[in-house]
């Protein structure tokens, strides 16, 4: 098998900010081999994968594919070669079905992109799953699956794609024993079929069992590489840890004092950690070591009340059950979170403001604070921590990572807490800053604080910890006193073995959750039916006559067409509040053309094109100018209406020919024509949203921007399309409006945007993007029309109608929220 390697990497380097993530890495991956890749967290494994799959562009280095030089500059080219990756945290579109997630991830569409074959999509999805021994339905929404299930599904998808080189980043972290075994069996089969597999794992036993070749990475470099026979567990651990210890271990530490915080049988409600017992004493640093997925951060969050948990927390002899960080802070327990960028800093705010967040009240009177004093206090802290900055008022994001971390540390030190929990205090900062942060942490303990340092950096834990506890798969797997802690000992405790892995391996059936998802549309229709029934009882034949009901449908038609367009914009995560004015402008232009003799068909075409152009203009201004669509379309309200009046000179556009009026006038098979047109539009919309790749991409972009990028979906293009379609629908509505009402007046469409957005939201579109259906929009529009109709039939003044519409919107949104809550996994 000593042929040309499938992929040869030469001299790959990549730096993020100041940190060198990859440093001239050269490696080979061969067809028909499993290549084990191990290393501590932050050793550069994930970056390597991201470079090889085109997600990240390397600073330097070459790729040779089958011996030929290739450029991997994007996800597309990587896929073209047959390179696939399953990321550590599988990026998913939560609201879409598994089968569809697989489709977007694959970049192929079953059948024609303009006529997606759902059956085939589901069948091929199901086939891919079943080939992997996965029994859950492919139509289940991704949100309803566990992390492990998603991971397996994604691997199954990659396998189904006939990839030639497959990267798996920690695939077994969330899998049960049985699931892992099944996965291994598949990997062996793939290897036999000639696929190159790169397996990244902390589970050294797995690597030693499966891999033909093993590479150990450390600090962005290849520390060792060779065939499996050259390695055993102890050598792997040695290579991962390295021998150079960086900084000297601190001198003898004072004796620990009384116990401040004790955890007993502390378990996560979500099962991330179980029966953890820990003790933090004054003047002592406890190091908590664990690998990815061990539950370190979850434990830290649970202690301060950010996650629901069971068990006992005792603070200075009293039960400690904080509702959240604010309460924990008052009790003297502080958590410095792991992810500085997303959980710690306020990036564009001044350093000063970032420092004083939790203790602003200390130097405030009735909430007011003197800025000069704040500046002085902040500078004191920054200086004490040896932070390098030019001005205490510069945005914190302009500082290096190490200096940011020092300031965040300073923020919490100033609150003078009794217990300090530091989650990854030195992640992503350079060596010098690291030493300074470490010195600061020791200083804290010396001043009598109880400190818990959570880290996946072994040397850090060993250097700092007076005691070291090791968390493995959610349980304490070892406790060491400083003198007995060794790198290999701690690492051995942290590496899970097969017997340590929790989970019975029984898959939960996602069936009932699917029903809940469908329940959203059902509930709109349910509300509609209830309302219709109630009105039939109240009003009898006045309401429940074919004639009246058709009238209601006719009234709903025009709004529903525009709402169908609005659904596109909402699904993709945008909003367009200019559509009322857009309706006026396109109606006036197309209407005038019709009055001057343009045929009705062409007038419709003109309206659609004009509307689409205006919509596309909104999108372009928003994305080119990088301003929120709500601002652009707010301006559009003014500009479009102004242009309309400029064009008409204030005169109404009317006097349409009978041929033009015949677009909507009269009936067909007993129903008003406009109802038929709306039905046609909604059928087309349902086709577009459900059956075309372009429609489905709206959901992808609106559901998860990040996952969309990983799937190679163009964000700008998709958004432009959504706004243009919305504009086109509004243009169509405008022409039909002219035909239906006989004229376009200066105030035509004023306030229309609110009716349309209300109909779409009541019909189940989420303004946060990712959700909404063609049928829901229809139901929402009809529901609003029925309410209007009912008010008149019940002889309630039409002035009350706003109250009913407002309550309807709130009820619909609350219902939506409740259903998603029931389905779980809601993060917002």
């Amino acid at each position: 098998m000593a042929s040309i390697p499938l992929l040869e990497i030469r001299g790959l380097s990549k730096a993020f900010g100041g940190a060198q993530a990859l440093d001239t890495v050269s490696l080979e991956f061969r067809a028909g081999e499993i290549h084990g890749l191990v290393g501590e967290n932050g050793a550069g494994k994930s970056t390597l994968i991201r470079c090889c799959t085109g997600i990240v562009a390397p600073d330097e280095g070459k790729f040779l594919w089958d011996g030929k030089l290739v450029g991997i500059n994007g996800i597309g080219p990587a896929r073209g070669l047959g390179i696939r990756a399953v990321q550590q945290e599988a990026e998913f579109f939560p609201d879409l079905s598994l089968a569809e997630n697989l489709m977007h991830a694959s970049g192929n569409s079953p059948g024609n992109p303009a006529w997606l074959d759902w059956r085939e999509m589901n069948a091929s999805g199901q086939k891919a799953l079943r080939a992997f021994g996965l029994e859950f339905p492919a139509e289940a929404s991704a949100m309803s699956l566990s992390v492990g299930q998603r991971m397996l599904a994604e691997i199954a998808a990659c396998v189904a794609q006939q990839s030639r080189l497959l990267f798996l980043d920690e695939p077994t972290a969330a899998l049960s024993v049985r699931e892992s075994e099944e996965l291994f069996a598949h990997l062996l089969r793939l290897r036999a079929a000639g696929t190159a597999i790169v397996l990244v794992s902390h589970r050294l036993d797995e690597v030693l069992r499966l891999a033909d070749r093993v590479t150990v990475m450390r600090d962005g470099r290849v520390a060792a590489t060779g065939v499996r026979g050259e390695f055993d567990r102890s050598r792997l651990v040695r290579e991962m840890v390295g021998r150079d210890m960086g900084e000297p271990v601190a001198a003898v530490r004072p004796q620990a004092g009384e116990t401040i915080l004790r955890l007993e049988d502390f378990s996560d409600a979500g099962g991330r950690f179980e029966q953890v017992s820990l003790e933090l004493r004054a003047g002592e640093i406890v190091g908590l070591y664990g690998l990815v997925g061990a539950g370190r951060s979850d434990l830290a969050q649970a202690v301060v009340g950010l996650r629901p948990a069971r068990g006992r927390r005792v603070l200075r002899g009293k039960a400690f059950v904080p509702a959240g960080p604010a309460e924990a802070l008052r009790a003297g327990v502080v958590l410095v979170p792991e992810d500085r960028r997303s959980e710690g800093i306020f990036p564009t705010h001044a350093c000063r403001e970032n420092i004083t967040v939790p203790w602003l009240h200390r130097f405030s009177r009735a909430g007011f604070f003197p800025v000069r004093r704040e500046r002085r206090l902040a500078e004191d802290i920054a200086r004490r921590l040896h932070t390098r900055y030019a001005d205490i008022d510069q945005p914190i994001v302009t500082l290096s990572g190490g200096n940011q971390q020092k300031l965040i540390l300073g923020r919490w030190l100033a609150t003078d807490p009794a217990v300090l929990i530091l989650d990854e205090p030195t992640r992503g900062i350079d060596v010098g800053a690291k030493a300074e942060v470490h010195a600061e942490i020791r200083e804290l303990a010396a001043r009598g604080k109880a400190v818990l340092v959570i880290s996946s950096d072994l040397s850090e834990v060993l250097q700092l910890g007076d005691r070291v506890d090791v968390l493995c798969s959610g349980r304490i797997a070892g406790s060491f006193r400083r003198e007995e802690a060794s790198e290999t000992g701690v690492m051995n405790a942290a590496l899970p073995e097969a017997k340590n892995i929790p989970g019975g391996g029984e898959l939960q059936r996602p069936g009932n959750k699917r029903l809940a998802a469908a329940g959203r549309e059902l509930s709109t229709f349910g509300a509609l039916i209830l309302l219709v029934a109630a009105l039939t009882v109240l009003c009898g034949r006045d309401f429940a006559s074919v004639e009246n009901l058709l009238g209601v449908l006719a009234a709903a038609s025009l709004v529903s067409i525009a709402a169908a367009g609005m659904a596109h914009v909402l699904i993709v995560g945008g909003i367009d509040i200019s559509i009322g004015s857009m309706l006026g402008l396109t109606g006036a232009l197309a209407g005038t053309a019709a009055v001057r003799g343009l045929s009705p068909g062409l007038a419709v075409g003109l309206g659609v094109v004009l509307g689409a152009a205006l919509g596309a203009g909104n999108a372009t201004a928003a994305f080119w100018g990088r301003i929120h669509p709500i601002v652009v379309t707010l301006a559009g309200i003014y500009v479009f209406r102004g242009l309309m009046l400029r064009f008409t000179g204030g005169y109404e556009v009317g006097g349409f020919s009978p041929a033009f009026r015949a677009l909507t006038e009269g009936t067909l098979l007993g129903a008003p024509k406009v109802v038929w047109i709306a039905a046609l539009v909604h059928a087309g919309n349902a086709w577009f949203l459900n059956r075309t790749l372009w429609g489905r991409r709206l959901y992808a972009v609106g559901g998860s921007e990040k996952a969309a990028v990983y799937s190679g979906i163009g964000l700008a293009r998709t958004r432009l399309q959504a706004f243009a379609v919305c504009g086109g629908m509004v243009g169509l509505t405008a022409v039909l409006w002219g035909a239906y009402y006989g004229k376009i007046q200066s105030n035509t469409g004023v306030g229309f945007e609110l009716q349309v957005i209300a109909a779409a939201v009541i019909g189940g579109c989420a303004v946060t993007g990712g959700r909404g259906r063609a049928l829901g929009v229809v139901a929402g529009s009809i529901l609003v029309a029925v309410v209007y109709n009912a008010l008149i039939l019940l002889r309630i003044s039409s002035y009350w109608q706003g109250v009913f519409v407002g309550l309807l919107i709130l009820a619909a949104a609350a219902l939506d929220r409740w259903i998603r809550h029931r389905m779980g996994n809601e993060t917002r």
Partner: protein
């Protein structure tokens, strides 16, 4: 690198633009600087300005309130009903303020308790509050307000020498701008609102209560609506259920022009005030030069987009450096 000295540069640019526009108009249009007209004209922007101040907090916190126009009308009609029922003026005014405050708290409670996006909640209350304003009043305006009250609102002013005068409403607005500036830039509330908008997760970790902050800022917006309702009633001698239709659009435009980031995290109350001045001056000047209402709207819309792009670019430049 943004230093303290540069902090007010954006405001300085805005102020220069305002001065330039003002100079251009006063040179080309006789009577533009007529003290009485300026005083009259400024009355029309008081409600917009009053509501724009808390809106700055709301937008800086990553939220939005579309319901302000409707809430102003609702507060007005509640106080109108109280007045029609013979209650004394102080009770009527208190009714207006309380109604506004309650409406604002309702918005915040819906946003937090149901965890709904502010856009959806306030879209709903935009319809709801307006419906209540019409329904409660039977769509009838309430007139017959005491002369003391209406004179105070429509012509009452602090008379300086030389015919110059500042209407009481404008004085209230100036006071509110000063209070809003202090609250936003020198008080925990403004700080919390901005931090909430900049990074809600970090805010939670840092122990900031989103609930309390939102109750406070939406409540303030409601109070501003209640106060605006009183001033509107005094100015027009009528409580009108159709009042302040579309107020939210003007208010949001003013706040955005003033440099508050629509996605939250940054804002400026003096900026908002300058935005109000810019829009007010421009509208006044265009009115005086006989530019029709619709052409004005085109200009204002274009201005809004240009300023928003400028703000974003400015912020980017200063974030990167």
């Amino acid at each position: 690198m943004k230093t303290r000295a540069e902090f007010f540069q954006r405001e300085a640019v805005l102020a220069l633009v305002i001065i330039a526009i003002g100079a251009a108009f006063s040179l080309s249009v006789p009577g533009f600087l007529d003290p009485l007209s300026l005083a009259d004209r400024s009355r029309h922007w008081v409600e917009t300005g009053l509501v724009a101040i808390p809106m700055t907090f709301i937008i800086a916190s990553g939220g939005i309130d579309l319901s302000v126009g409707s809430l102003l009308a609702l507060a007005m009609m509640v106080s109108g009903r109280l007045h029609a029922a013979g209650w004394p003026l102080p009770v009527v005014m208190a009714g207006s303020l309380l109604t506004g405050w309650a409406g604002g708290l309702f918005n915040a409670a819906m946003i937090r308790a149901l965890r709904l996006p502010p856009l959806v909640v306030t879209l709903a209350t935009l319809a709801l509050f307006r419906g209540l304003a019409y329904g409660l009043s039977g769509a009838q305006p309430v007139g017959a307000w005491p002369d003391v009250f209406t004179d105070w609102g429509s012509i009452g002013a602090w008379r300086i020498s030389g015919g110059w005068e500042i209407p009481w409403g404008v004085l209230i607005l100036l006071g509110a701008v000063a209070a809003g500036t202090a609250l936003f830039h020198r008080h925990a509330l403004g700080r919390r609102a901005r931090q909430l908008g900049e990074n809600p997760t970090a805010a939670r970790y840092a122990g900031i209560s989103a609930m309390r902050t939102e109750l406070a800022i939406y409540g303030l917006a409601g109070l501003a609506c209640g106060l605006g309702a009183i001033l509107w009633t005094a100015r027009f001698a009528t409580a009108h259920p159709g009042a302040a239709l579309g107020l939210e659009l003007d208010v949001i435009a003013v706040v955005v022009i003033g440099g508050t980031r629509i996605t939250g995290g940054a804002g400026s109350v003096p900026g908002t005030f300058l935005g109000l001045l810019l829009l007010g001056l421009l509208r006044y000047g265009l009115d005086v030069t006989s530019v029709s209402q619709q052409d004005q709207n085109i200009l204002v819309g274009i201005l809004l987009v240009i300023v928003a792009i400028f703000n974003e670019r400015w912020a980017l430049q200063h974030r990167r450096a």
